[in-house]
């Protein structure tokens, strides 16, 4: 990498530039393409393997599938219940995201724009939750959910996801509501607009950019949860309520015994393609949403 230190002192600036112009970008691209391959090859490999026969997978991991075997996908979706897990994940995340955004926006709005006794205490109670590792709560949470009769149920998991998304959501949206101008709200109040209408028809639409960013962050946080579902979705009959992350790892364990490798790769591909596709469509929003989430 010490390409430029070797430049002889008597060489004029023109050649110096010409030299770097040729070599540096080439070396940069070599490294960058190298890492791009390291990132994408495993994913491509999983997709290709989902079309192979088990025999092809066993004989040569690097071979290409001889034909597109969609029945691997059908088997993963149906027999291995990936379809059901997918649906469960979608139900839980849709519900949890709705609750998170509504409750988060409500609390953040009040904390940002209204003065009342205890405002700071409530704010720190919410945001303080970001400091604790979720593992600390795991054991008591299991019993709280069990005592409410919500263990192994989709509504139980939905409420837990929403509750654990609140600290960051409240933190982020409180800061966002503070940045919105007060003049619009004052004008609306003068016109006789009530507190509730002001929130739903004036402030929420104004806060849309912030809401979208935090919603994407929460979507990924909830869709990718692993430890909460494996702790909370146990017990009798809970397999029917499993979410994708959990179902997929169970599939990986079971398929290992049964030797249905192609089914496993198909399940993996089904699980990863929708999020990857959504990301490719909205990659700017994904990246800024996640960066905002990490940089609070």
């Amino acid at each position: 990498m010490a390409l430029l230190t070797e430049t002889p002192p008597e060489s004029p600036p023109e050649t110096f530039y010409q030299k770097t112009e040729r070599t540096v970008p080439v070396i940069s691209h070599l490294f960058l393409i190298g890492w791009a391959l390291v990132t994408t090859l495993p994913l491509v490999w999983a997709v290709l393997s989902s079309f192979k026969s088990d025999n092809e997978i066993l004989t040569d991991p690097w071979s290409l599938p001889s034909e597109l075997r969609w029945n691997n996908w059908a088997r993963a979706w149906g027999e291995a219940h990936i379809g059901r897990y997918f649906l469960n994940s979608a139900i839980v995340v849709t519900g949890a995201l709705a609750i998170t955004m509504l409750f988060g926006a409500m609390a953040a709005y009040v904390l940002a724009r209204y003065r009342f006794r205890g405002n700071r205490i409530v704010y720190f109670a919410f945001t303080g939750g970001m400091m604790f590792p979720v593992f600390l709560a795991l054991v008591p949470l299991f019993f709280v959910v069990r005592n409410l009769g919500l263990l192994g149920t989709l509504p139980g998991l939905t409420l837990v996801y929403a509750a654990y998304s609140l600290p960051f959501t409240v933190f982020f949206l409180t800061a966002f509501f503070r940045t919105l101008p007060t003049s619009v709200a004052e004008a609306a109040m003068v016109d006789g607009c009530g507190h509730f209408r002001l929130f739903f028809s004036v402030m929420l639409p104004m806060a849309r950019p912030g809401l979208v960013g935090v919603a994407i962050f929460n979507f990924l946080f909830q869709w990718n949860q692993y430890v909460l579902p494996i702790v909370l979705m146990q017990g009798e009959g809970a397999e029917r309520k499993w979410v994708l992350a959990q179902g997929l790892t169970a599939l990986a364990v079971n398929e290992g015994y049964r030797g249905d490798f192609s089914g496993l790769f198909a399940g993996m591909t089904i699980a990863m393609l929708p999020v990857l596709a959504a990301y490719l469509l909205f990659h700017r929003q994904f990246q800024s949403g996640l960066a905002a989430g990490q940089l609070h």
Binding site: M1, L3, T20, E21, V24, P25, S28, F31, L32, W35, A36, T39, T40, P42, L43, W45, I57, D60, P61, I99, F103, M106, A107, F116, V122, F132, P133, L136, A137, L138, V139, P140, L141, V144, V160, A162, V170, G194, F199, N224, Y226, V227, Q234, L244, A245, Q246, L248, T249, A252, L264, M268, A271, M272, L276, Y279, H283, F286, A291, Q294, L295
Partner: protein, 301 residues
């Protein structure tokens, strides 16, 4: 006035209830349960004071797991941040240099999009995928090694206690580097190009500009990155549980997995909560140490 109070109450009480039941109360109870010998089966339990913590001190499995978290805590941030800065620099200033300054490489948008892929995949998918990647006969890694004639290196990666931990570390680095390339890349946009141009004209190498210009000017961002990678390192549960389940033996065990197995495998809920409390104080200590260590003057432009 009542309208406003009613409004505040209606807007605050439902979120507070949800948060109080599922977040605040479990955290509070964790400290209480850690002082008991509760096994979860019966409501009966006894307070044993600090016995659980005393037991923790003599628990070899816990120390092994803690040692692995400690290693992750040092190696994961260092490797990820160095790789992230390296690739981000190549994207932002790795292109040609001319009179207009230093350019980024062509296709920088492409790299940013592709590098981010692992970030949007769930840990479960990444775990299962890499478990298959490392598989001795059907895995892509050994397939590659055999393909280039290195059959001797095609070992049972996850079945060998010498390699299992490093395999897990590699996956954690793989899944995190892309995000920090994007993050550092975005932060580097605010560094004026002519700084690099001037340094290169003075005969500095690209590596020197990275160490002397980029790192000091991105110091705040690097600190944040370190904090988040430290959180990943203290956790590490999902990837370890899926890929190796802590094994073989306890060669890749981490504290989170210890807690999970102690609670939901052995039913020792009191002891598991004590592990959770220990983890909490570990996190706190690391945070305080980090804040002490990185207090350093900011470079202002």
């Amino acid at each position: 006035m009542w309208g406003k109070r009613l409004f505040i109450a209606v807007f605050l009480i439902p979120p507070l209830l949800l948060y109080g039941i599922f977040v605040v109360s479990p955290y509070a109870q964790a400290f209480q349960i850690s002082g008991t010998d509760w096994s979860g089966l019966s409501p009966a339990y006894e307070f044993v004071g600090l016995d659980n913590f005393r037991r923790l001190l003599g628990d070899g499995y816990f120390w092994t797991a803690l040692k692995h978290n400690g290693l992750l805590l040092v190696l994961l941030p260092v490797a990820t941040i160095v790789a992230g800065l390296f690739f981000a620099s190549m994207i932002s200033v790795g292109g040609r240099a001319d009179r207009a300054g230093v350019h980024g490489v062509r296709g920088s948008g492409f790299y940013r999009v592709v590098y981010f892929f692992p970030q949007v995949l769930s840990v479960a998918i990444i775990g299962v995928l890499w478990k298959e990647m490392y598989a001795p006969h059907t895995g892509m890694i050994n397939g590659f090694l055999r393909g280039i004639g290195l059959d001797g290196l095609a070992v049972a990666w996850l079945g060998d206690p010498r390699f299992s931990f490093w395999c897990v570390l590699a996956v954690l680095i793989w899944m995190n580097v892309g995000f920090y390339v994007v993050l550092f890349g975005a932060a580097m946009q605010s560094i004026p190009r002519d700084l690099y141009e001037a340094a290169l004209l003075d005969g500095a190498s690209r590596v020197t500009t990275l160490v002397r210009i980029t790192v000091p000017l991105l110091w705040d961002t690097i600190q944040v990155a370190w904090v988040y990678l430290a959180i990943v390192a203290i956790d590490g549960f999902a990837i370890v549980q899926i890929i190796t389940n802590g094994g073989p033996g306890s060669s890749s065990d981490v504290v989170g997995l210890r807690l999970y197995k102690t609670a939901f495998g052995d039913g020792q809920f009191g002891y598991a909560s004590a592990i959770g409390v220990a983890m909490f104080f570990l996190t706190l200590t690391v945070a305080v140490m980090f804040l002490r260590a990185t207090r350093r003057e900011r470079v202002e432009l």
